[in-house]
């Protein structure tokens, strides 16, 4: 018996430059996200969550899950370089596999939402992997919100975002800004899962403003 599902993917940079306060802030926020979403049955019944970490390689840390049934979320561990190609390629194959699995179950799947977080410029040429992921001809192409701080170039974030980009504005330390990032992710999931649009369909609730960040329009391509 199928359900309506809005899948969320948190794709998080865990390169060496994230070590210390940034990665700690994300790791400290994951339990509250788990608790807030998992304990809201309206939201938990309609959303699923996946955590992908990447540095010079990418890994699915939490497969697409119903947070009300998850007992723990693995933490991020900072090390290595920054390779966006690895992240986008893994995201592409993961979304394809997840949607196929959901559809096989008879679920009505809404466009996946990606929260992409990075603190540094990538060392690779990620254009081809990104184009494949966001190709409008690929029916599963996700909505992407990109968040950046530290050494990341705002223009890079704008290229990655398909919906909206946010760049840390320096008014907060990275730990506080990343807690705000996590809060905006939680709020987006809760609003998306609990406030249907016309007649009950699910759509991504996009944050307008995130404290500690400046909103940038996504590049139009």
């Amino acid at each position: 018996m199928g359900q309506q599902v809005l899948p969320f993917y948190l794709v998080c940079d865990e390169s060496g430059s994230m070590s210390g306060a940034p990665v700690d802030a994300i790791n400290e926020s994951l339990p509250s996200m788990h608790s807030e979403i998992g304990s809201n049955p309206v939201v938990a019944d309609k959303t699923k969550f996946c955590l992908i970490g990447f540095n010079h390689q990418a890994q699915v840390l939490l497969p697409l899950s119903d947070l009300s049934t998850v007992t723990s979320i693995p933490g991020l561990q900072a090390s290595g370089g920054t390779d966006y190609t690895a992240a986008f390629d893994l995201l592409y194959t993961t979304i394809a596999k997840d949607v196929a699995m959901l559809k096989a179950n008879g679920d009505q799947v809404y466009r996946p939402a990606v929260f992409f977080l990075s603190d540094g410029q990538p060392g690779d040429n990620w254009s081809a992997a990104y184009q494949r992921l966001t190709d409008p001809l690929w029916p599963l192409h996700p909505n992407i919100l990109a968040f950046g701080f530290g050494g990341v170039d705002p223009a890079t974030l704008q290229q990655i975002a398909t919906v909206r980009a946010f760049i840390a504005d320096g008014t907060m330390g990275p730990d506080s800004a990343l807690r705000e990032f996590a809060a905006s992710l939680i709020q987006s999931i809760v609003s998306s899962g609990s406030k249907p649009t016309a007649g009950g369909t699910l759509t991504l609730a996009v944050p307008d403003n995130v404290p500690g960040f400046t909103a940038l329009p996504a590049d139009l391509v």
Binding site: M1, G2, Q3, Q4, V5, P41, V42, A44, D45, K46, S68, V99, K103, G106, Q108, V109, Y110, R111, P139, L140, S194, K195, P196, T197, A198, G199, G200, T201, L202, T203
Partner: protein
């Protein structure tokens, strides 16, 4: 009618005999003897509680919107049942029902017909429940002068052109209402689906109908145990990902939908919001509904309300349907 309705004698005497504890232990909301809403497949992970009364939506929201509305009528050769039920998500969030419905006989002096309609206020808009109710009312007023034409144009582009004309008039009057309330017309956004059905057909086996819609509110005919789609939402994507886009009155009417056909004395025609049609993409839901409503089975109004309150995990939107059963006179 299911056995649980037929078998119960609800008189106090019968209750005392049937349940000697009844006088000492009053029945509470959690010990209701009336069946819970039916669950189809995997149910929601929370109880079907009504919760507290929803918060007021402000002075311009008009009168209160009841959690549930039931309606019905009997006409020669037709039986009508309608229900509009606040969804689990709105109950959980202390929000009002945004769906609306209506059923009327309309007349242009030459012909009369039954008009049934449903409207689904767009979830994110604060006054969309007003928009939904107003769209139904305006449809009645603005479609009535054209009753004969709706059947005379013969379907196809003629019907679509006529409906577009009426839909634009509804949109204009909703825009005027928005101006009167000093709100953006988008705050009244609503989808709408309606059926105009002959009340005096040449034969009960060939009763003509016209279906009209804006957005993803839609219509089905139940025939021989199968629900047949009357309309295809032009905003729906056919591929793997489910679309969230829909046209809506008054600000984005877009492409209107129409269909025409006939129903016989064993058919049922339903107009519904997508709080009904979305779960119906599951075969189990369609089978259960067909089991209740196919052939000669016509539920009482209260029974219809109970049936329409079925629960399926993740489908927590307001649910509204008006069903018209044909039957021999």
């Amino acid at each position: 009618m299911p056995s649980w309705l037929r078998k119960r004698d609800l008189s106090p005497e019968a209750a005392a005999v049937a349940d000697p504890q009844a006088e000492r232990e009053p029945v509470t909301a959690f010990e209701s003897r009336f069946p819970e809403p039916p669950v189809i497949g995997k149910g929601p992970s929370f109880a079907p509680d009504l919760g507290p009364l929803p918060a007021s939506v402000g002075a311009m929201s008009g009168q209160a919107v009841p959690d549930t509305a039931l309606d019905g009528t009997e006409l020669p050769g037709l039986t009508v049942r309608g229900a509009s039920i606040r969804g689990d998500d709105h109950r959980f969030g202390k929000e009002i029902r945004q769906d609306s419905m209506g059923m009327w006989t309309i007349d242009d002096g030459r012909s009369s017909a039954l008009l049934v309609c449903v409207a689904d206020g767009v979830g994110s808009q604060p006054l969309s429940h007003l928009g939904a109710a107003e769209a139904c009312r305006l449809l009645r007023d603005l479609a009535a002068p054209h009753v004969s034409r709706f059947f005379r144009v013969g379907g196809g582009s003629g019907l679509t052109d006529l409906w577009k004309l009426v839909a634009d008039q509804i949109g204009d009057q909703m825009n005027a209402l928005a101006a009167q309330l000093s709100v953006d017309p988008r705050e009244l956004s609503t989808t709408l689906a309606a059926a105009i059905i002959e009340t005096s057909p040449a034969s009960d086996e060939e009763r003509r109908y016209a279906i009209l819609n804006v957005g993803d509110a839609t219509a089905f005919v139940l025939r021989d145990g199968e629900f047949l789609d009357c309309l295809v939402d032009p905003s729906r994507e056919p591929e793997a990902i489910t679309s969230t886009a829909t046209w809506a009155l008054p600000a984005s009417i877009g492409q209107v939908g129409t269909a025409d056909g006939v129903i016989g004395s064993r058919d049922m025609l339903m107009v519904c919001t997508d709080g009904m049609s979305n779960p119906m993409r599951n075969r189990d839901v369609c089978d259960r509904l067909a089991g209740w409503w196919d052939g000669d089975q016509i539920p009482s109004m209260q029974e219809f309300g109970w049936q329409l309150s079925y629960r399926v995990r993740s489908f927590g939107d307001d649910r509204t349907a008006v069903c018209v059963w044909g039957r021999g006179k």
